[in-house]
Symmetry: C2
Subunit: 392 residues, 2 copies
Amino acid sequence: MLSFIDPDEALRLVLQHTPDARYEQVPLAEAMLRVLVRRVVADRGYPPFDRAMMDGFAVRVADAGRVVPVAGEVAAGVAPQVEVAPGSAVAIMTGAVCPRGTEAVVPVEQVDRTDEGVGLPRPIVAGQHIVPAGSERGAGEVVVPAGTLIKAMELAVLAAVGCETVVVTARPTMAVISTGDEVVAAGTDPERHQIRNSNGPMLGAAARGLGLPRVTLLHADDTEDALHRALKLAEADIVLLSGGVSAGRYDLVPQVLQQAGASIVFHRVTQKPGKPLLLARRGDRLFFGLPGNPISSHFCFQRYVAAAVRRLTGRPEPAVDRGVLATDLSVRGERTLFLPARVVWSGDAWQVAPVVVGSGNIFACVDTVAYARLAPGEHRLKAGAAISFEWM
Amino acid sequence: MLSFIDPDEALRLVLQHTPDARYEQVPLAEAMLRVLVRRVVADRGYPPFDRAMMDGFAVRVADAGRVVPVAGEVAAGVAPQVEVAPGSAVAIMTGAVCPRGTEAVVPVEQVDRTDEGVGLPRPIVAGQHIVPAGSERGAGEVVVPAGTLIKAMELAVLAAVGCETVVVTARPTMAVISTGDEVVAAGTDPERHQIRNSNGPMLGAAARGLGLPRVTLLHADDTEDALHRALKLAEADIVLLSGGVSAGRYDLVPQVLQQAGASIVFHRVTQKPGKPLLLARRGDRLFFGLPGNPISSHFCFQRYVAAAVRRLTGRPEPAVDRGVLATDLSVRGERTLFLPARVVWSGDAWQVAPVVVGSGNIFACVDTVAYARLAPGEHRLKAGAAISFEWM
């Protein structure tokens, strides 16, 4: 078991111990924001025919500058019943099939209509305003590679080539066990010495924010028995235990996890907030011991649990962003500091306003959207200084 | 009716004609990523009692440097049964209520345990390691302002102050009417001259990506009757018509909307893609005529329809971001150009790689995440040049 490791090593261990993604097949309509596992190929060439790019006339190149009669018309979605003979034109709509004999399409704005037909411009370039059959993708060519996050554009491509279902990464299930005798459920009137359970609802909401469909919320008192009972109920790929991982006498999570057959990968990270963070594993199942302090719990979810979920679902790690401090900042600490921060775009840079406040004060963190990161040590920074941050 | 307006004017008109947000009450567990309409205040002071910030001992300041007996213990979540008399200490846990008489908390690491009790350090500062009752928020003070997007941290605050339901902006309903005789439904084997409906599924998915709960997908052939029938079925706050807004003979959407009592706000925008974009309004209902070209349709959704949805749900407009070109780029156009682009973070800047391709080729746009924006005119840009972009 590793202890007092730094936050980058902790993140590396989380990713290393996260099992490979599992797969499932879903209807295309439910594939938005899922990650494609099996690449998809074109069922035929695209476009499937020489496609007109403009409303106009299908013509022969040699008829440039002449007046030719209009032999018929092809609308989009219709099989042409006519062909383009030399000395004639066929009216054609955007998206329609170019009829046999078409050498070019002349846009409607470029012709003169006369009683004898249409006067064509000069010159006409072979192939103009035509997308040749198969030129966008050939039959059997990959149209969406494995590993692609399916957004609206990718979904359009998948629909175009006829996918009705797709194989995507499965989303992990999650269970959240709030611990702590001082915590009472929402809907209960707390006594003066009690506080309401905010970590459970927060972690559940954060999981839903990551698109997880099944999140189970449980509570356990600070006894070994209660924790064991809750762990038995928490049948999920990722189990979060909120509270009970500090050094106190009632902090039973590490020993209970070991009794339950999990091995502890690490416990305690040289970071503030979130020093007591614990990662354990049993088979393909991950257990995170999150500090009971709500800001610590929030931070550890955003930085470590979310990373495991992204890895499990095949999504990339988000970029670390950079901005400038919106205000002066004087802080010091022995551990890497992550400060909740408000971030706004000023027109040419992210303006980062960290919240420096007692560790339990979630009220001060309303509207923060990122964690600004500072190395251990003393920092006396002026407004405008560069600062790294990670989006929540 | 305005025509050939520029893209910024078009966006302004979309926002101007979007009605005010409607409200609804939802359980807190369903409030993630919703926008709070009615501010929430603290039901009591926070913390509700003088809270110990460390595991340690509640003591009197005057006992600094002395060995004092331990008179009892207070765990978190328990009403103290003991008080801190002069010359004594009470063991206390992080988060617990400081018992009567507490002047400071001494962390457990700073005491010497002896047979007579605990040896206290010197000096001890009054109030150390105590969060005073009401110091984070006073009873009745605002804890989450109206207009706040509820993320995990805000949800924790709302849970902490006892919210079981919250009043949030309602999400609009949306209907998508795909038009075009050439388009066949997914699951149908298309003839060679036919293409599958990709705009309908794409727009539906894009709407779901914005968190809209109810999206109705319809199809209409290119006849006035069919369009009127589809419009009658499309009972939604926002109705999208895909196709049928260009200048062709089969582009019936503008006249049908007017026949149905809608007034056209604008038609045609000096942008590429998306020139034929149309906005109409009837009462509080918005109708967007989107071009049938899939990239144009995608772009118009991301830039204009999404803006209306954000306005309707009280969410802020996203920032226009800036990056640097990943490759040389030579383009020219009479209209403002928006190019689908791949964007990656290089460590200190967004590297933007626009896709320059025929307007119908969605295959080339797989994995793009933004639209790079260029003013009308000629551009011969080198890799590394600054470029603005809007995230999809």
